[in-house]
Amino acid sequence: MKKFDHIKVRSYEEASRVVREGNGAVEPIAGGTDLLGTLKDRLLPDYPEAVVSLKGIAGSRYIEEKDGMLAIGAGTTLKQIAESPLVKDYCQALSEAACSVASPLIRSTATIGGNVCQDVRCWYYRYPDSIGGRLECKRKGGDTCYAIAGENRYHSIFGGMCTGGSSCQHACPAGTDIPGYMAKIRENDWAGAADIFFKYNPMPMMTSRVCPHGCTQHCNQSVYGESVNIPAVERTLGDYILKHKEEYYKAPHKETGKKCAIIGAGPGGLTAAFYLRSAGHQVTVYDSHEKPGGVLRYGIPHYRLPKTIVDEFCQALETLMGIRFVMNTTVGRDVTVEQIKADNDAVYFGTGAWSQPVLGLEGENLTEFGLNFLEEVNTYLKKAMGENVLVCGGGNVAMDVALTACRLGAKSVKLVCLEQRGEMPASEEEIQMALEEGVELYNGWGLGKVLESEGKVKGLLAKRCLSVRDENGRFAPKYHEEDTMELASDFIILATGQKVELSFLGDHLSSQIKTSRGLIDADAQSGRTRAQGYYAGGDAVTGPDLAIRAIAAGRNAARTMNLDLRPENGGEQQSAEGAEELAKERFTTFNVEGVERTKAVRPGELPASERSLTGEDRSSLDQEQAKQEACRCLHCACYAVNPSDITPVLVMEGARIVTTERTLSAKELFTSKLTVQDILHRGELVTEIRIPRASGETHYDKRRVRNAIDFAIVSLASAFEAEDAVVKSCRLVLGGVAPVPYELPEVEAYLRGKEITPETAAQAGEIAMKHAFAMSGNEYKIFMCKDAIYNRVMEAGR
């Protein structure tokens, strides 16, 4: 074993302190039968510097009666528990469970405290580091659960449990719970999917079309085949939402009487407007353009995002939600920020990046600015331009410009950019499309000067770009000034970036919230600026970036604004009902056949020859197709079962767990989160377990391969009170079948008052397995559960 230190302590308090101060580098050890296995195989990426031994804590091993309950010290060995007449008297099931653990050799050192805190036995998780390296699976903070599409015989039959988000969710700048809405779509619950989606982003009909979808690059399906086509599913959900817009864009139930102004009607501003209006505030949106939408309307071409969709969305905000739009109004000229602030309680800046940066290029004045070009085409659907277009820039805007020029009928479209093909900031998909439509790429060239003759553009002198970034990754292009090339063109469009323009703020506000880089200084998380009542987000804060980042910023700022406006409402309180809901949904499931499909469902796409300026290139998946694609989502979570034999009994008995800090119910500690460690604080130690006297007869039935050593494949903790073969009351908790002990309230309700017959016993098993969800290799556990329940019910009638 790799070395660690051994710290002796005299009390739990001291042990707690040592663990806390160890900051993650010190682990408590009781019997060591679980922990030493973990350490020997170096299963976890973090290896402790020291263990603090709980063995020497005097008075930590006892079994006694206390206030009418059975109290067991956490340091008590399973052998002591298995042999104790007092335990048998209070709860036969606990005695049986303790006796079923491992073998006498383990039970003589293993403690009950260590047992309930033990780690899982998933074989991927347990794969020793010494043979080829440990597996950094989902439970260890990695991305993938290997058991989903692997060997899962000893895994859950009721679904997995989330371990802090999936990799697609982490890759999404808005943190969208992608597997969450995919799961709803699999159940054909589109309304449920929409509800989840709206927590993150109010415009899937836009983002599904315009977002580069980093989530798909991080999708774990790509390990097996194609990534889940997340954008296509999202788009169908967006279509669904627009179809039912009355339900999703609604005026608030109650007005708060507070007023908010949003400056800038782009994706970020509209998002902030949506969430603020939903919270009951009066919202006014100002924008200098004729219509709302910002880049969604004026930057992104029709063929990617039809403007009818932008219209429909903005109209919903206006007419259904009651958001006021003040258009054609340039703030700073037609109205000052101060005037707006005087009329409102809070102001949000989502003004974006719309200005042309000056490059200092000879002949620059003869060129066209990319964003203006797009804006004009998006507004008038036509544009006078030359025949041989040259686009400068390698990002997504440049791609949009180049494709738009093609579709406007340019004879030739060339694109020149500093970056080599693989370094281009534009998404690969768009580059492919541009190539398909005949755009010629010139990679690795910088702009020398515009070649002209009599005030007419003739082309561009390009110079070889040697490298784009310096060793620190900063943008600092190096050129070979002599290595030049002439690119003929009569129409040059510069799409080499946009600039944030903040003169509208006025001198006073500028001095408070403008950074030296010419951006708005706002907190990335809260959107707060240094000026009270002013908030900001999106490109105006970050410089040109993705729409989805602006959406996330608008959402976060709206949350902060709402809190600042109504501090009395504090953190959103979760209703008891909500908690119940959450509990029901805590197990994740996936589609067993669906996850095996390696090919994504693809929407229809027009061939290059049929694509146009106005029609969308791609169609939407219908709901059935989208559902099929959602079935490919693995629902990345941990599907390992809790291996403890003791916890199902403690949950069944309603035991209380005393720690160094508090007393928790067994249900809370063992069933509400994936691991006990997710609930216990660092250094919080279990000190005692209290069990009320069981009513009726209790048992622990454990099914396993060999009757010693092996962990349960299925186990059943039960308590029955029966009279004349009629069940008066019962409690049933399954072990080994879910990430946490699995309660069976429906079965209990069903059996209460029933006469025990083979039919009722069989029916009890059927009900118990109603929500079962077998993985690819563990269906037999369902039969074992039914059998265990059948036998136990029949036994209760004897």
Partner: protein, 171 residues
């Protein structure tokens, strides 16, 4: 982190032993298992190193009256303990086997013998605590000791015979 150079005392087969826990030469490392200590430090090699995960019982020794898997116990945690290994069952002076060991030998209750020290230690712990076990209790007590040569049947027969023999002798 605090300074924790500790000294631990334990008796092994009746002999008091003192170990300094630490990283120095001759010290017992804080992460050393009891199995490592008895085999590599004390040269008591009857307890076998096998699965090293508490699953086979080949490393069984008796600690304070209980049979334990010594591969899953830290020596540093054994302060004040009394440890018995198979070597401690024979007569310390003459080296004569204990009656239980003899029974195993006389009845050939083994094949290759790799698991036998562990099995004998588990049996010994059981008989010390319960001199008159049923066959079921015996099988249960030996359920953590694996034998890949399938000597179990012979073991159970031998031990049950041994118990009856003892009873007869006592009567």
């Amino acid at each position: 982190m605090k300074e924790h150079l500790e000294q631990i005392c334990m008796t092994v087969n009746g002999v008091p032993r003192k170990f300094v826990i630490g990283d120095g030469v001759g010290c017992v490392s804080p992460s050393e298992t009891l199995l490592d200590t008895i085999r590599d430090r004390l040269g008591l090699t009857a307890a076998k190193r096998s699965c090293e995960h508490g699953a086979c019982g080949c490393c069984t020794v008796i600690v304070d009256g209980d049979a334990v898997a010594s591969c899953m116990v830290l020596t540093a945690d054994c302060d004040g303990s009394s440890v018995t290994t198979l070597e401690g069952l024979c007569d310390p002076v003459t080296g004569e086997l204990s009656p239980l060991q003899k029974a195993f030998a006389d009845n050939s209750a083994f094949q290759c013998g790799f698991c036998t020290p562990g099995i004998i230690m588990s049996t010994k712990a059981l008989l010390d605590q319960n001199p008159n076990p049923t066959e079921k209790e015996l099988t249960e007590a030996l359920s953590g000791n694996y034998c890949r040569c399938i000597s179990h049947y012979q073991v159970i027969r031998t031990v049950m015979g041994f118990i009856n023999e003892m009873k007869r002798k006592e009567a």
